[in-house]
C-alpha cells in the first residue's frame, strides 16, 4: 500500500510538471499579451508599451519565463497579477472563500438529494414514478446550463421578485456596514462554522457506530437538529446577522439552480449501482431472513451502493475550487471561475497559472484519495 501511494505521488509530480508546462505554453501562444489592453489609448506610446513589456519580463522567451515561474513557485512566490497589480496569492485568497462556500453547499445538498432519490428510483423499478423521475432527471442533467440559469433568474428574480438578481450582496445595505467588515470575513466565518458543525457530526457518527441502531439514530438526529439550531442561533444573535442573512439570501437562487442541474447525475449513478447491488446474494439472504424491505434497502443495498457515489463526490470536490465558470458568469458571482475566465482571455498569465496550481494539484490528489478511500471502504479491493 505504501509503495503504491509513493509510486502514485511520484506520478502526480511528473503529471503536474507536464500540466504546468503545457498550460504555460498554451497561454503564451495566445495572440497578444496584457500590454495590448492599452492599445486604444493614444497617450500610451509604442515605447511605453515596450518598456511595460520589459518590466513584466514579456520580452524574454517563453521557456525562460516558465522556468523562472517554476522556480519562484517552488519557493512559494506565485508572482503578481498583471490585471490587479496585487500578489496572485492575495487575489486567490480573496476570491476562494466565495466560490468554496457556494459550491460546497450546493454540492453537499445535491449529493444528498441525488442519493436519496436514486435509492427510491431503484426500488420503484418499472413504475410510472421511475419513468417520470428519470425523464425529468435526464432533462435537468442535460439542460443547457446558461439557458436554464437565465430562465430561472428571469422567472424568480425578475418576474416573481423572490430572489435578488446577480452579485452576492446588496450594496445599499452594505454601505451602512460597520467599518472593517468585509463580505470575505462573513464568508470565511460561515465556512468555519460549517466545517466545525460537519466535524462534530462525523465525531458523533463514529461514537454511535457500535450502539443499538435505534438509540444511535435517535442520538444522531438530535445531534443534527441540535447542532443546526445552535449554529443558526449563534449567527442570528451575532451583530453581523443582517449581513450574513443578505449573503445567504443572494446565495439561494444559485444553489437552487446548481442543485437542479446536478442532482440527477448522482441520482442516476445511485440507481445504477443500487440495481447492480440488488443482484448480490447477500440481498437475497437478507430477504430470506424476512427483514422488512426498508431495512434491506437502507442497511444492505444502499450501504454498498454508496461506494461509487462517494468516489464521485471526492473527485468532484476539487472542481469546487475551479467553480462553475458558467454558473459564476451567469450569476455574476465574482469567484474563482470568473477570475479564471477573465484572466485567461486577457493574458494575465501569473493569475491563471496560480489558479491552475490550486485546481490541478487538488484534482490529482483527490483522485489518489478516492482510490485509497475505495480500498478502505471496500475490503475486496487491494493494491499490490
Amino acid at each position: 500500500m505504501l509503495k503504491y501511494i509513493a509510486n502514485r505521488l511520484l506520478q502526480i509530480i511528473v503529471t503536474l510538471f507536464i500540466f504546468f508546462a503545457l498550460t504555460y505554453f498554451i497561454l503564451d501562444a495566445q495572440p497578444g499579451d496584457i500590454t495590448l489592453q492599452y492599445v486604444n489609448n493614444p497617450k500610451f506610446t509604442k515605447e511605453q508599451r515596450e518598456a511595460l513589456r520589459r518590466r513584466l519580463g514579456l520580452d524574454k522567451p517563453a521557456y525562460v519565463r516558465f522556468f523562472q515561474w517554476m522556480g519562484n513557485t517552488l519557493r512559494g512566490d506565485l508572482g503578481e497579477s498583471y490585471q490587479y497589480r496585487k500578489p496572485v496569492m492575495d487575489v486567490l485568497l480573496e476570491r476562494a472563500p466565495r466560490t468554496i462556500f457556494l459550491f460546497l453547499t450546493a454540492t453537499l445538498i445535491e449529493f444528498f438529494v441525488g442519493y436519496w432519490l436514486g435509492r427510491v428510483l431503484a426500488w420503484q423499478r418499472g413504475t410510472g414514478l421511475e419513468y417520470g423521475i428519470t425523464v425529468v432527471g435526464a432533462f435537468f442533467y442535460t439542460v443547457f446550463t446558461p439557458w436554464f440559469a437565465l430562465m430561472m433568474i428571469y422567472l424568480f428574480g425578475f418576474t416573481l421578485k423572490w430572489f435578488p438578481i446577480g452579485k452576492f450582496l446588496d450594496v445599499n445595505l452594505w454601505r451602512t456596514a460597520p467599518k472593517g467588515l468585509t463580505a470575505n470575513d462573513i464568508f470565511v466565518n460561515l465556512l468555519l462554522t460549517m466545517t466545525i458543525l460537519g466535524a462534530a457530526l462525523v465525531v458523533v457518527y463514529y461514537l454511535t457506530r457500535r450502539m443499538n441502531p435505534y438509540r444511535a439514530s435517535l442520538i444522531r438526529w438530535s445531534a443534527l437538529i441540535g447542532g443546526a439550531a445552535i449554529t443558526v442561533g449563534f449567527w442570528a444573535s451575532s451583530p453581523v446577522a443582517k449581513y450574513a442573512g443578505d449573503i445567504l439570501y443572494h446565495m439561494a437562487l444559485p444553489i437552487i439552480v446548481l442543485t437542479l442541474i446536478n442532482f440527477s447525475g448522482t441520482m442516476l449513478l445511485t440507481r445504477t449501482t443500487m440495481l447492480e447491488t440488488l443482484r448480490e446474494d447477500y440481498i437475497m439472504a437478507a430477504r430470506a431472513k424476512g427483514l422488512p424491505e426498508r431495512v434491506v434497502r437502507d442497511k444492505h443495498a444502499a450501504r454498498n451502493a454508496v461506494l461509487p457515489v462517494f468516489t464521485s463526490l471526492i473527485i468532484s470536490l476539487p472542481f469546487i475550487l475551479g467553480g462553475g465558470i458558467i454558473t459564476e458568469t451567469v450569476f455574476s458571482w465574482e469567484g474563482l471561475g470568473l477570475t479564471l475566465l477573465t484572466a485567461s482571455t486577457t493574458g494575465d498569465i501569473p493569475l491563471v497559472m496560480g489558479s491552475f496550481l490550486f485546481i490541478g494539484t487538488l484534482a490529482l490528489l483527490a483522485h489518489l484519495v478516492a482510490d485509497i478511500a475505495y480500498a478502505f471502504l471496500d475490503p475486496r479491493i487491494r493494491y499490490a
Binding site: 498554451i26 428519470t134 439542460v143 439557458w147 445504477t272
Partner: protein, 318 residues
Amino acid sequence: MTTAPADTAFQIQEPLWKIRLRIAWKGLKQNWALFTENKIGLVGLGIILFFGLMALAHPILMHTVWEPNIYDPFIGNDPTILRHPSPPSPRHLLGTDPVGRDVLSQLMYSTQSEFILGLLAAVVTVTIATSVGAISAYFGGALDAFFMRLADLINILPFIALLVVLTAFFDFGMIELALLIGVLSGFGGTTIIFKAQALTIKVKPYIEAAKVAGGSDLHIIFRHIVPNLMPLAFLNMMFTVTGAIFSEAALSFFGLLNLRMSWGIMINTTQAAGYLLGGWKYWYLIVPPGLAITLLCSAFYLVGRALDEVVNPRLRRR
C-alpha cells in the same frame, strides 16, 4: 472452413456468411426486444428521429417552398417586415432574429451540423478509447501508467483556454471541433472506463485459451478483447454525443468559437443584441435553440440509459 469434409454425416448446405448474418440478425432482434422493454429509450429514439427529419427537411424546403434570399440561414432577410426581430407569423413560424433571418430555418440548418458534430466526436472518442483501453489493460505496467496519467492530465487541462488559443491559430469549423472533442475525451475520461472493463475481460478463460493456441498479442487485443468492448463502446457513444453538443453550445454561447451557425451561436446572437432578458416578448429567440439543445442532448442520454440495460445484464429486471 467453408467446405466440410465429405465423410461427415452432417453437411452444412448454406454458405458461411448467410449463417453469420442470421446469427447477427437474431442477436439484433433479441437486443431490440430488450431495448423496447424500456419506454424511456423509445422516447429518446423518437426525439432523435424527429430531429433527424428536421435536418433532412431543411434542404428540401430550401429548394421548394422557401425563397432562398428570404429564408437563407446566414444572409436571408425578409424585406416585407419592417422591424426585426419579429414575432412568429404564418410567414415565419418561429419569427425572425435581430438581423432579420428566419429562426426556424436557422434551427433546422443547425440540426444537421449538430448531428455531424455529435456523431463524429463519438466515433473518434470510442475508436481511441477502445484501442487505448484494451492495450493498456492488456500490457499493463509502464504503458498503462503512461496512458492513465495522460488521461489525468487531459481531465484537468483547461479546455476553454485551449480552445481560445486554437481558434486564434486555425479556422475552427464543426469538423475540427468534433475531432478535438473526440481526441480529448478519447484519451481522457473515457479511456479510464474502457480500461476498467478491459481488465475484467483480460482475466476470462478464453483469453488464456487464445494465448495457449499461440495467438499474438495484437490478435488477442483486436480479435478477442476489442469485440467484447463493443457493447460498452456503443453505449458510451451516446453519452459522448450529449457531451459534444453541450460543449459546442456552451463555447458558442461565450463567443469562443468561430462557427457560422449553430444553436449556441443563435443564443449568442440573441445575447449580443441584448434581447436575452427582454422578457417573454422575445421568447422565440431564446426558447427554440435552448430547448433544442436540451431535448437532443437528453434524447441521446435516454437512449444511452436504455442501452445500458441491454449491455449490462446486471441492470435487467429479473
